[in-house]
């Protein structure tokens, strides 16, 4: 709890709902689509997850910042959320291994935050009304001005944010002598996804969003990985085109989150914007192939159309969400390509699903031994 001297801050939602709280982090104004995350650990990893690009994030957990920040517990080089809304942000932190306080970290990253908001009421509002744009300001409470800011904030639907979140140049990771070469198409890839692949002995080349198939093939990859990322998959026809080309190589393919949605679009299965998405560390997913279940990390506002997927001749469902039955994973029937909507690298979150990386590497090795005929 902050002292009384902290300046007031305001959160205005698109539907006119207004919440007041205290300023935290940078003093300023910021806007974007509002969403909430129910996770109780790993705030730093969440804030730096590129899939959150352009979003104002509500943390449901009632304390954030208690254990400060640690330089290496990040999913990218900087904070990617556009604004932060909390119940309590702790000024004081306690962790021997921490490198700085969250407050310092937010200031360095120029993030505008508001706390001492009734986040539970806010979450219920979002749950009922659905995702919408919002604006946070700690420099003005002139609502008509903030209304104007809101009007200028673009909608998430139709927004291609992935190209922005991508790397601007290609780079390699891992041991170049490795026998497993993976081309990673980066639309805002989380660091630990790359780490999970490297840990399994893969040599990676990470390509920017605008890459061509030929450029990828020049790397002579044994498999393709298409990453997570922000924004609306349906707004990236050029990327869908690239995925189609990748699939035509018949090389093993693994997609996560946005990568999953792109695999669907490349197979003619549409995606849709969800009411308020899935964001947290406790989403139950059932693996229909093994009949085992896993607790997963999720962060998505768009999803694959289940009806169209069920009708598809060359795709099948592999994972479903036990809460709402939504599609969590699928694979192509006649070639080694699969994808999941959730985050098996799970930083933050439970490590139940990391077997998917093993599966992918296994497929790559199988392919190396007996490539599917092109």
């Amino acid at each position: 709890m902050a002292s009384t001297i902290a300046p007031r801050a305001v959160l205005l939602l698109e539907d006119g709902t207004c919440y007041y709280g205290k300023a935290f982090g940078k003093i300023g104004t910021t806007s974007g689509e509002i969403c909430f995350n129910t996770g109780m650990t790993g705030y730093q990893e969440v804030f730096t997850d590129p899939s959150y690009t352009g979003q104002l994030l509500v943390m449901n957990n009632c304390y954030i910042g208690n254990y400060g920040v640690k330089a290496d517990e990040v999913e990218s080089d900087s904070i990617k959320i556009k604004g932060l809304i909390c119940k309590n942000i702790s000024h004081f932190y306690s962790r021997t291994l921490a490198t700085s306080s969250l407050e310092q970290y937010l200031l360095e990253n120029g993030l505008v935050a508001i706390h001492q908001v009734d986040t539970r009421a806010l979450v219920i509002h979002i749950r009922n009304k659905g995702a919408m744009n919002a604006v946070i300001s700690s420099e003005t409470d002139d609502l008509s001005y903030l209304q104007k800011v809101l009007e200028q904030t673009p909608r998430m639907e139709g927004l291609d944010l992935a190209s922005e979140a991508s790397t601007d140049h290609a780079y390699t990771l891992g041991d170049p002598r490795s026998g497993v070469r993976i081309a990673v198409i980066d639309y805002g890839v989380k660091r630990h996804i790359l780490q999970c692949l490297v840990d399994r002995g893969a040599y990676l080349k990470v390509f920017p969003a605008c890459v061509t198939l030929q450029e990828c093939e020049d790397f002579q990859p044994d498999g393709y990985f298409v990453s997570n990322g922000p924004g609306d998959p349906a707004a990236m026809p050029h990327v869908v085109q690239l995925v189609k080309q990748i699939l035509s190589t018949k090389k093993p393919f693994f997609g996560i989150c946005l990568g999953h949605q792109l695999l669907a679009l490349a197979n003619g299965i549409p995606t849709y914007k969800m009411h308020h998405g899935h964001r947290g560390l406790n989403h139950p997913v059932k693996n229909l192939i093994s009949n085992r279940s896993e607790i997963t990390t999720q962060n998505h506002g768009f999803a694959v159309d289940p009806d169209a997927l069920r009708l598809s001749k060359h795709m099948e469902i592999t994972h479903i969400n036990l809460n709402d039955g939504s599609i969590e994973g699928m694979r192509m029937k006649y070639q080694p390509a699969f994808s999941v909507q959730y985050h098996p690298e799970s930083t933050p979150g439970p490590h139940d699903s990391r077997y998917l990386f093993d599966d992918f590497i296994r497929q790559v090795k199988m392919y190396q031994n007996a490539p599917v005929n092109a």
Partner: protein
């Protein structure tokens, strides 16, 4: 795997009488399991010797056996019933041990009974420390380094090898007896000697003490398909070195990064999976080195535990209920989350509030006991508090304790210790450490110093500092000039109106209440929904906070509020949970909405599906008042929640809130010694001569008048607290001086003590017209032993019919004079054929559940309907069923307090009770009891 249809009947083993370390949490788990299995159409048979439990109520199971927890009892049950499986994981260590014993004797095999929810091999691995250590090493999980030593020399050698600080744990002793911490070489010899001597096989475990490491607990559920979820992670604010049952604990974990947490989660899952094959609940404890974040496993409990009960209430996730379903074959992904109704039971709850659990101790009952907290659990109960900030939850927990604290501070009495005294005190953990930390911070001691003395994580100390800063800031203002925003912040930090009234120097909490209400600083209620609002939940389980939006929308129905009895303690425990649970059901049967208020997580009455609405709040006037403001109930029932609930009657009365049943004024007559005696005099009922005094001098004058021996006690006490029997002036003076030292300014009651008299009590119901005696219980021991500590027999075995009739006659006279509507308990002393009335309690008593069980009459249901006024006694057909006698046996937890005098006296010391049915007075058990009736008497 869906439900195993070959299981049609299940035997659930209870945990027996309440002892320290194994208490009401197993009534909660047993009850949930029974209900859960019956939902599946399974016939449930229960065994438990504890009559005060709700699980042994006829409504809970198809057949209930109130029998001693022995193999013989099991055989009897197996002979009388067709039983397919036994579920022994719901009754703590007692049930597991019994199941193991029966297993070794081949009983289960003989009757073709399957053990479900448990793997005997897993229990052995978990229990035997050496076995546990070996097993952990085998699966690559780090544990504290340790060695088994069989001689003094060996012990010294290993101690040198392991290094200080270390723990000496004697083998094969119960509950940590003889174990101790050794901080330096100087302490080693003595500790080692003591440990070796305590062990029957002259063996100790010398273990590295990870003092100062942080302590965490994970609650797991696993199904037969090996799916595992973590239901709750609990952080112990008190670090390693203090038993988790004696620690202040917090959920969710406050100072745990995701990397550290996932390491714990992975390790816990690995431990549970490699432990053995069982579907159900499991608890794993870890220590974390704050410097390096390495972890070691401390222990694993492959069963539902005290922590599971807490985790259930903390998250809303009904662990025992689901564990029971997993035991009969269900998979987690096949079950629904019962809180939301439409999402999966296979998930990990997310919390958007802070839980603080605080233990409740009763050291005042165990004179001479070492009150240092350590390896051995010593608390008798606990409270849980929920808030939206940590300070709020912490202060609410204090308000729920019912030990004079009105927040994190006592604000009265002689706690003004100097800095060096405080620092000295903080070194040794005792029950009041958190309060002393606050005192030290008030005096300006730094967080760093306190951390070095206590190892408590600085984050928690910093939160207490916020309370301290606020308290200091508040004293600059008066109620009339305090800025609105500051008042709001104080409330958000959990300050009670009573605290504020003291700090702002105004006359009463009422003024604070009125002012803040006018400013709109009012409690909002939030739901506990397992999912931090991600999904809509239907479960009406609420807590209060000073936030913006209120979620608890009162219905249009007529409502009745039931007050619970707060944390368990000696003299007031599980029996009132039994009463409240029945009360809630009876209220619902009468067409009202039943609303429950309590803060005790070890209760069935606070299960999310018991009341129509549950407020998990301290049973503290301010909290009650605000709920009443919101709900506008028809009235409140105070007769079912023991003395705690009864004490609030005055406040309710003053505010014009309807109390169902007996009026406040009449209850007050019963409670006020002077008014009560006047009434008895008027009614012509004999009572021991008595008088009141404020000083030793006055006391001596009174004693002379009433005649020695005399019973000396403070007025308004529970369970005979600080009661003494004295035989002469010298002793009297000593007793009075000691009393006044502990309770300055208190009124002292002095009664003539009827030496060697017989004691008996009556529990009855009166509806204004008809008087019904539920039961007459005669104590086996003569007067001088507290009624809660004596063996008692239902019905009387030795009293003459005339004496019994006289007692009944007096009880009815008192009930009529007090205009009782509902329950009354009257205590008698009988000497030389004269029946004296000792006291009357206008509420459910400790013995009410016992009588209901023994006679198999739903007395609490009947009583509640009479309290409500919807029914009269004539509406019920009461048929008492009891062949022979039922004996109530007290059960003690003295072995937790080595060196404490075990003699019994007027102060209650037992923690639990058992029921035993005998056919007739020739019963050898009874004869032995009767023969030895005077043996434990102190005077």
């Amino acid at each position: 795997m869906p439900k195993d249809t070959s299981i049609r009947s299940v035997l659930i083993i209870g945990s027996g009488p309440i002892i320290i370390g194994q208490a009401c949490e197993f009534d909660y788990s047993g009850s949930q399991a029974a209900r859960s299995l019956r939902e599946e159409g399974i016939r449930v048979i229960l065994i438990n010797s504890n009559p005060a439990t709700i699980m042994t109520d006829p409504m809970m199971a198809d057949r209930v056996y109130l029998l001693p927890l022995t193999v013989e009892s099991l055989e009897q049950i197996l002979q009388e019933n067709e039983i397919d499986a036994v579920l022994p994981t719901m009754g703590g260590q007692t049930a597991l041990n019994l199941a193991k014993e029966a297993d070794e004797l081949g009983i289960w095999e003989k009757y073709g009974v399957r053990l479900i929810g448990v793997d005997i091999k897993a229990i052995n691995k978990a229990e035997d420390r050496e076995e546990f250590r070996r097993f952990m090493t085998e699966i690559g999980v780090p544990v504290a380094p340790s060695r088994i030593a069989n001689s003094f020399l060996e012990g010294k050698e290993f101690a040198q090898e392991i290094g200080f600080p270390l723990v000496i744990r004697p083998s094969y002793t119960l509950g940590g007896t003889g174990g101790s911490f050794v901080h330096s070489k100087e302490e080693l010899d003595e500790a080692l000697q003591r440990g070796l001597e305590a062990s029957p096989i002259h063996e100790v475990l010398v273990e590295k003490a990870v003092l100062g490491w942080k302590e965490f607990e994970l609650e797991l559920l696993r199904d037969a398909a090996d799916n595992v979820v973590i239901i709750c992670t609990v952080e112990n604010m008190d670090p390693m070195g203090i038993h988790t049952g004696d620690s202040i604990t917090v959920a969710p974990a406050m100072t745990l990064s995701d990397t550290a947490y996932q390491l714990m989660r992975n390790t816990a899952i690995k431990m549970m999976r490699s432990m053995g094959n069982f579907a159900g609940g499991c608890n794993v404890q870890f220590a974390l080195n704050p410097q390096t974040e390495e972890i070691i496993a401390i222990e694993i409990n492959p069963r539902v535990s005290r922590s599971s009960a807490l985790a259930s209430k903390a998250t809303g996730y009904p662990i025992a209920k689901i564990a029971a379903k997993l035991a009969i074959g269900y998979r987690l992904d096949e079950l629904k989350n019962q809180i939301t109704g439409n999402t999966s039971a296979y998930f990990e709850p997310a919390l958007d509030y802070v839980i603080v659990k605080m233990p409740r101790w009763n050291f005042d009952k165990f004179k001479g006991a070492d009150d240092t907290l350590g390896l051995q659990m010593k608390s008798v109960g606990e409270v849980m508090a929920i808030g939206r900030t940590f300070p709020e939850a912490l202060q609410k927990a204090c308000q729920g304790l019912e030990n004079e604290a009105i927040g994190l501070g006592f604000y009265s009495g002689n706690t003004n210790l100097k800095v060096d005294q405080l620092l000295e005190k903080l070194k040794r953990p005792t029950w009041d450490r958190v309060f002393r930390i606050k005192d030290a911070l008030m005096l300006g001691v730094s967080i760093k110093t306190i951390h070095q003395l206590t190892y408590i994580d600085p984050w928690f100390l910093h939160q207490i500092q916020l309370i301290v800063d606020m308290e200091k800031k508040l004293t600059h203002y008066h109620l009339h000039d305090i800025p609105d925003e500051l008042l709001r912040e104080a409330k958000q930090l959990g300050f009670s109106d009573r605290q504020l009234a003291i700090l702002l120097r105004c006359d009463s909490e009422d003024e604070v209440y009125k002012k803040r209400k006018k400013l709109g600083i009012t409690r909002t209620y939030k739901m506990v929904d397992t999912c931090s609002a991600e999904f809509e939940a239907r479960t009406p389980y609420y807590y209060s906070s000073f936030d913006q939006v209120n979620e608890s929308i009162p219905s249009k129905r007529k409502k009745v509020l039931v007050l619970g009895s707060g944390p368990n303690r000696i003299g007031q425990g599980i029996e009132f949970d039994y009463c409240c649970t029945h009360g809630l059901l009876a209220i619902q049967e009468c067409g009202y909405e039943a609303i429950m208020i309590n803060c005790n997580p070890e209760t069935v009455s606070t299960d999310f599906d018991m009341a129509d609405k549950l407020y998990f709040e301290p049973v503290f006037w301010e909290h009650l008042r605000e709920i009443i403001d919101l709900e506008q109930p028809e009235g409140v029932i105070v007769q079912l929640g023991g003395q705690t609930a009864l004490k609030l009657a005055k406040n309710l009365h003053e505010k014009g809130i309807h109390i169902f049943g007996t009026s406040f004024n009449d209850m007050d007559i019963a409670e006020d010694r002077g008014r009560f005696s006047d009434m008895l005099k008027e009614l012509g009922i004999p009572y021991p001569k008595y008088g009141t005094a404020y000083t030793a001098e006055e006391a001596m004058a009174v004693a002379k008048q009433v005649g020695y021996p005399v019973l000396v006690r403070p007025s308004y006490v529970l369970g005979g607290q600080r009661m003494r029997i004295v035989i002469n002036e010298e002793e009297l003076e000593k007793a009075v001086v000691s009393l006044l030292k502990h309770l300055p300014g208190n009124k002292i009651l002095i009664d003539h003590f009827l030496d060697r008299c017989q004691e008996a009590e009556i529990d009855a119901i009166f509806d204004g017209e008809e008087f019904h005696v539920m039961g007459v219980m005669e104590h086996i021991e003569p007067a001088g032993i507290h009624s809660g500590d004596s063996n008692a027999v239902l019905p009387p075995f030795n009293l003459s019919p005339l004496e019994v009739t006289t007692m009944e006659f007096y009880a009815e006279k008192i009930a009529r004079a007090l205009h009782i509507q509902g329950l009354i308990n009257v205590q008698f002393a009988i000497k030389d054929g004269v029946v004296y009335v000792i006291e009357a309690n206008p509420r459910a008593s400790r013995t009410t559940p016992f009588i209901a069980k023994a006679y198999q009459v739903p007395y609490l249901n009947i009583a509640t309907k009479i309290i409500l006024g919807t029914h009269k006694l004539k509406d019920f057909k009461i048929e008492k069923k009891l062949n022979g006698y039922a004996i109530k046996e007290p059960v003690f937890s003295f072995n937790k307090f080595p060196g404490v005098n075990r003699e019994l006296g007027p102060e209650m010391k037992s923690t639990g009770e058992a029921i035993r049915f005998i056919k007739d007075l020739r019963d050898p058990y009874f004869r032995k009891l009767y023969k030895e009736r005077s043996m434990l008497l102190s005077k």
